[in-house]
């Protein structure tokens, strides 16, 4: 844990096999100071623990949304209240 002047709390949701591998459907986190984009967060997930490392082992395989809208990996998280990680969708 690092002291920082810029800490923000977000809700993170996981779906489908990302949810199964992490072992949770949602959590609330304080973002590390060096996590700026959605991609940064996905890479940070790799070093959290077994389930998270497995879920985020191939970041290319995961998509993300901020405040319930699809976003590109290089999108900054700041200001969003909710982040979601999920596999490419398969509805219809």
């Amino acid at each position: 844990m690092s002291a920082t002047n810029q800490q923000s709390t977000v809700t993170i949701r996981y779906f489908a096999w990302v949810r199964e591998k992490t072992g949770t459907g949602s959590e609330t986190l304080t973002l590390p100071a060096d996590v700026s984009t959605v991609r940064d967060l996905a890479l940070w997930m790799q070093q959290r623990g077994d389930g998270f490392a497995a879920a985020f082992a191939k970041p290319d395989a995961i998509r993300a949304a901020l405040d319930q809208k699809h976003v590109a990996p290089n999108t900054k998280i700041a200001g969003a209240r909710e982040v979601a990680f999920f596999p490419p969708v398969t509805g219809g």
Partner: protein, 154 residues
């Protein structure tokens, strides 16, 4: 112009009747119904379970519907998408599009399904008769060229 996410089955005739009732500008109604198939790569399917992202599902389908209505100048549009555990032969999704003439109604229906397949936050899990369970992989052909993660990007 409505979107419904439900575990319940839908009645295609009733939905179209409700959509078109009294609106005599509509000359064309196009529709698509997606159903659960009984086999996956030749293997028998026991059931399919659809997970979704409550909140985003409705929002994204509403956005997709609005885009489709605008692009094809539709008079009315309806999306019903089921979630939960379904059996072979069950309905999954209904899309209905209404316009003065058939070209726009048909094209809108096709467009809306392509858009839904690539953007709507649902995920299918298949349970086969042989006991195996797997998440369905998205097909590249169903998806836009979404930006890929790249660890080499700085």
């Amino acid at each position: 112009m409505t979107v419904t996410i439900t575990t319940d089955d839908f009645d295609v005739s009733a939905e179209i009747e409700r959509l078109t009732d009294g609106n005599h500008d509509i000359g064309a109604v196009a529709s698509f119904v997606g159903k659960v198939r009984g086999t996956v790569s030749g293997k028998a399917l026991n059931s399919m379970t659809l997970e979704h992202y409550p909140g985003m599902t409705e929002a994204e389908l509403t956005r997709i519907e609005a885009e489709t209505i605008k692009r094809f100048e539709l008079i009315a549009c309806r999306i019903v998408h089921r979630v939960g555990t379904l059996q072979p032969g069950n309905n999954i999704v209904l899309v209905a599009t209404c316009a003065p003439h058939r070209h726009n109604a048909l094209s809108a229906c096709d467009f809306l399904m392509d858009y839904l397949k690539s953007r709507a936050p649902f995920w299918k899990k298949e349970a086969l008769a042989d006991g195996t369970v797997h998440w369905v992989d998205a097909r590249e052909s169903d998806h836009d060229a979404l930006t890929r993660w790249s660890e080499s990007r700085s």
